[in-house]
């Protein structure tokens, strides 16, 4: 059964030089005095027990939403506390991650599928599907650095479309400036959410979260309120 269980989870970002008082002061002001000696407490005493459903994480900038998603994606290990996750995880925190500007679109497709640990016998089949979906044609043979931002988005988005998992993590709703493409993106993202057992979306947009989430967690200064 897909499940997320967090008990008393805290995460401390280390400050490299605790003796620089000016820097300490600046950080202290930015993070609302949420600073303890030589580290910043990015998350504090988080408790979550989540089963099937769509969940929202709502909070202001710097509140710890992305850090919490990174804990759930097992990118960071908590400084204190227990993280217990049953189920495979697909992180859409940043869909452009791992793309290499020097490589062609085709090479980037293969690279991203490899990073995602796609079995080698599936890579060819999935690559062909992604190639068809992107509709980038001969551009796929050119280095990524020659692409416009819209083309890069198309490539990145259609690669992550095929990442399958029980748990889906999203940092803000995936959206694009291209109006025609926006509907298709929404449709695919909705389909991905429906096919995942658990979806967690971090967002500033409370209205959107209210529309789709079963429950919304409000996070401020690294704490769930």
């Amino acid at each position: 059964m897909t499940k997320i269980f967090l008990q008393n989870v805290s995460l401390h970002y280390p400050l490299k030089n605790k003796n620089i008082s000016l820097r300490k002061k600046i950080i202290q002001n930015i993070f609302d005095k949420n600073i303890k000696e030589n580290y910043i407490e990015a998350l504090s005493n988080i408790n979550l027990d989540i089963k099937d459903g769509i969940y929202g994480l709502y909070g202001p900038n710097g509140s710890g939403k992305t850090t919490l998603l990174k804990i759930l994606a097992r990118i960071f290990e908590p400084t204190i506390g227990i993280v217990n996750i049953n189920g495979s995880i697909s992180s859409l925190i940043n869909i452009h991650f791992g793309l290499n500007e020097e490589l062609s679109g085709l090479e980037n497709i293969q690279l991203k599928l490899l990073i995602q640990r796609t079995p080698r016998n599936e890579i060819k089949y999935l690559s062909e599907k992604i190639i068809n979906d992107t509709k980038l044609g001969h551009y796929l043979k050119l280095p990524l650095k020659t692409y416009s931002s819209g083309m890069k988005f198309r490539l990145a988005f259609f690669i992550v479309k095929y990442f399958k998992s029980n748990i889906l993590l999203m940092d803000e709703w995936i959206t694009t400036a291209d109006e025609k493409f926006r509907e298709e993106v929404d449709r695919i993202v909705n389909k991905k959410i429906l096919s995942s057992d658990i979806t967690i979306i971090a967002s500033h947009n409370i209205e959107r979260l209210k529309k789709i989430c079963n429950k919304i967690f409000y996070i401020e200064n690294g704490k769930i309120i």
Binding site: L11, H12, Y13, P14, K16, K70, A73, R74, I75, F76, E77, T79, I89, S91, I93, N94, F97, G98, N100, E102, L103, E107, L111, L114, I115, Q116, R117, R120
Partner: protein, 262 residues
């Protein structure tokens, strides 16, 4: 998961890191005509320049053997140095993957070492040509150099991991490593022969780990299976245990938090 089992799992993931290494090599030498052979050419020029310098006081026959001797040492040293130097910046370079995907950071060490190993393998063409024209005879003891190479690789992997982690946390490590490697290069018989050393001072070499590690690879290829070889072999095993122990403590202390420093 245990320290060794994590390294073992990464090693068994060779299909992935070898693919990444090949991509890296491809990017590095994209649009060049001879690719990784540029490295081989620049080092061969250096070897020939050193040989030219020695030619005035070494006979022609000995000179060829000496060039062969320098080639083995210099190519191997360059491979090791490239791995260790690259490890100081690997986590920074791979930040966009590490901070977005749950990935074992040891994976990048195997990728890095294999990328450099691909380039190192190209130099074997030069080593082989020099072996043919030198007076060194190919014999069964040449196979012992494989054992030496494995021990060197083990040390490079564990040392690179330690340097990789420490470089992220302590910014001075990069410069310390660069300078230390330069000192070790000149104090190890790579571009000079230990036979040129004062007999009374030769014992100092025994305190140089890279001397023993290079010996166990180099001596079988130079038909020098003597007492010193076995002494270096023993020393290399002790050095390997020490390297792994240091790596274990660094892993234990920083593995969990190193990503937070990126």
């Amino acid at each position: 998961m245990g320290f060794f089992s994590e390294f073992k799992d990464c090693l068994l993931d060779y299909k992935y890191w070898s693919h990444f290494s090949l991509i890296n090599t491809k990017i590095k030498y994209r649009d060049t005509v001879i690719g990784p052979f540029w490295n081989v050419i620049s080092q061969t020029i250096l070897i020939l320049a050193i040989a030219f310098g020695y030619s005035s006081f070494v006979s022609n026959k000995n000179l060829l053997d000496f060039v062969y001797y320098i080639a083995i040492g210099l190519f191997t040293w360059t491979f090791a140095v490239n791995c260790l130097n690259d490890s100081t910046s690997i986590l920074d370079n791979k930040k966009n993957i590490i901070l977005e995907q749950n990935i074992n950071i040891k994976f990048f060490i195997f990728e890095l070492v294999f990328s450099n190993f691909i380039i190192y393998l190209h130099s074997f063409i030069i080593i082989f040509i020099l072996l043919i024209i030198s007076s060194i005879k190919i014999n069964i003891y040449f196979l012992l150099s494989f054992l030496g190479l494995i021990v060197i690789l083990i040390n490079i992997i564990f040392l690179s991991y330690s340097i990789m982690v420490l470089s992220v946390i302590f910014k001075d490590v990069k410069k310390i490593v660069e300078n230390l490697l330069l000192i070790i290069f000149f104090s190890t018989p790579i571009i000079w022969s230990e036979e040129l050393m004062n007999e009374k001072l030769k014992f100092i070499l025994n305190f140089n780990p890279s001397y023993h590690l290079l010996n166990i690879f180099k001596n079988p290829l130079l038909n020098k299976i003597d007492q010193q070889y076995f002494y270096s072999l023993l020393a290399s095993f002790i050095i390997s245990i020490l390297t792994m122990t240091i790596c274990y403590f660094i892993h234990k202390k920083y593995e969990k938090t190193v990503k937070l420093y990126l």
